[in-house]
């Protein structure tokens, strides 16, 4: 959805015709070549950044321009810095064949209302004060960002993710393979998926959340919206959920081999005399929200706070 948004706005023929290559700089093989580029930008435009290794720091500011500083790594071909309509592109170009390329450090300032899309392989990524939508991807680099009310999507393989929300409602999506993810003060809709990483989520008032893990633990602290729908699932990881009072929800918890503990009172029961599964179904308060937790081997701990 965010990708389409970027493509649609940037893809009109007029804008493409008016595309201006602002700079194509830095000859190859200059060690630690300083970067200092700046260009006017739409206050609510899109900025795409791509860097294989090194680091990327993106900060929102109150100027209608994009500034790129930093240092181009040894062996890098060049930095592409261009604008096409509302889209500003910052891309570190790697040579076709190279045995040794140093990482590039990028410090990018964008209009605070910009939407950003950042792709890295091993470069760490740090985003601050950006109010627009964010799509952040890294294979092994760590991602750290703050989110306001716009959508955020973070994806990594082995990199860790840290998201600090503002308590405003937004759509937050985090996917990792082995990386851990820690989300604080996120609210609205929160989705996460990992294989072996741990997901730790501290939610403000949450209306929708779907968190899944294979072997990583899911740890959730949150406040339920009146009509909230939470759906947590794990294979062998534990699921620990603490909900702020007052809690008004219907709970549906099942585990095939794991233990279920519940601070709200009702005890789990065996699903079958001959099978190992247990389940816990109960209503707390008026029961407007729904909380569903399923595990295979993982334990479930359900508590109020």
């Amino acid at each position: 959805m965010k990708t389409r948004l970027l493509t649609d706005r940037a893809g009109s023929g007029t804008h493409r015709l008016l595309a201006v290559a602002l700079a194509a700089v830095a000859p190859a093989a200059l060690a630690g070549t300083p970067i200092n580029q700046r260009a006017a930008a739409d206050p609510a435009g899109q900025v795409e950044i791509s860097n294989i290794s090194g680091s990327v720091a993106v900060t929102g500011w109150d100027r209608n321009e994009v500034e790129v500083r930093g240092e181009l790594g040894d062996g890098t071909e060049k930095l592409e810095f261009s604008r096409t309509g509302q889209l500003t592109r910052v891309k570190v170009i790697m040579p076709k064949r190279s045995s040794h390329v140093e990482g590039t450090d990028l410090i990018v300032k964008v209009p605070a209302g910009s939407s950003i899309a950042v792709n890295t392989v091993s470069a760490d990524l740090n985003v601050r004060d950006v109010r627009g939508a964010q799509r952040l991807q890294s294979v092994s680099g760590d991602i750290q960002t703050g989110v306001a009310s716009e959508d955020l999507e973070c994806k990594t393989v082995s990199g860790n993710v840290r998201v600090t929300g503002s308590g405003q409602r937004s759509l937050t999506t985090v996917m990792t393979v082995s990386g851990d993810a820690a989300l604080e003060r996120v609210a609205g809709e929160v989705n996460g998926n990992t294989v072996s990483g741990d997901l730790t989520v501290s939610m403000g008032e949450t209306s929708r959340s779907r968190l899944r893990s294979t072997s990583g633990d899911l740890v959730v602290n949150g406040r339920l919206a009146d009509d909230a729908r939470l759906d947590f699932e794990s294979m062998s990881g534990d699921v620990r959920v603490a909900l702020a009072e007052p809690v008004s929800a219907e709970f549906d918890v099942s585990s095939f081999n794991g233990e279920i503990s519940n601070c709200f009172g009702p005890k789990p029961v065996r699903t079958d005399e001959y099978a190992p599964g247990t389940e816990l179904r109960f209503r707390q308060g008026a029961g407007g929200a729904r909380v569903r937790i399923k595990t295979f081997n993982g334990d479930v701990q359900l508590c109020n706070k």
Binding site: T3, S99, H100, N119, V121, S122, Q137, S138, V139, S140, K155, T156, V157, S158, M175, V177, S178, N193, V195, S196, R212, T214, S215, E233, M235, S236, S254, F256, T271, D272, A275, G277, K294, F296, N297
Partner: protein, 204 residues
Amino acid sequence: MNQGPADRPDRLQEALSQLPRGIEPGRDLWPGIAARLEPRSEPARVRAVPRWAWAAAAATVLVVASSIVTATLMRREAAMTARTAPTAQSAPEVVQAVAGSATAAFGPGHRVGPAYLANRRVLARELEVRLARLPPEGREQLAKNIAELRRASAEINAALELHPGDPLLEELLFNIYQDEISVLANVDRLTAADTKTAPTRIPL
């Protein structure tokens, strides 16, 4: 004086009616009966073992096989890393572990649809080129975590052998297969130079 034959039925009936209708044994016979019944129940348990054993054996074979593949790959990765910078040559080996030729079961007697397996193979082929761009630890992590997903699906399949039709197990297994495709698709995207659409949800 002898009684005539005509008298005998009445007297016999009378004598029979005097007999008690039941006779209480002089001691409690049940412990003895139970002791003799106990060995008969053993064969029933023994009969149940092969089914469990087959399921466990199948799961063990899957886990051991995936562990061997992972361990082999990790040893090769370590050797290559020590020797030189990462090269594209290791990508096919990781793809072999990632995509594999393993069939995907869905409980006893069911196989996951051919569309799923075909899409998994397509994703794996596309990955082969892009995996070369991953750092060695990235490839290692990917192989380990795909093995983790495979182990989880093998465990649930083994449980489904014992408890066919269990809705919780079926739901978890369905989702684990989707997760595997989702992981492959996401890695495909993360390592792609340009963002192309790859399927993330495949019909089973």
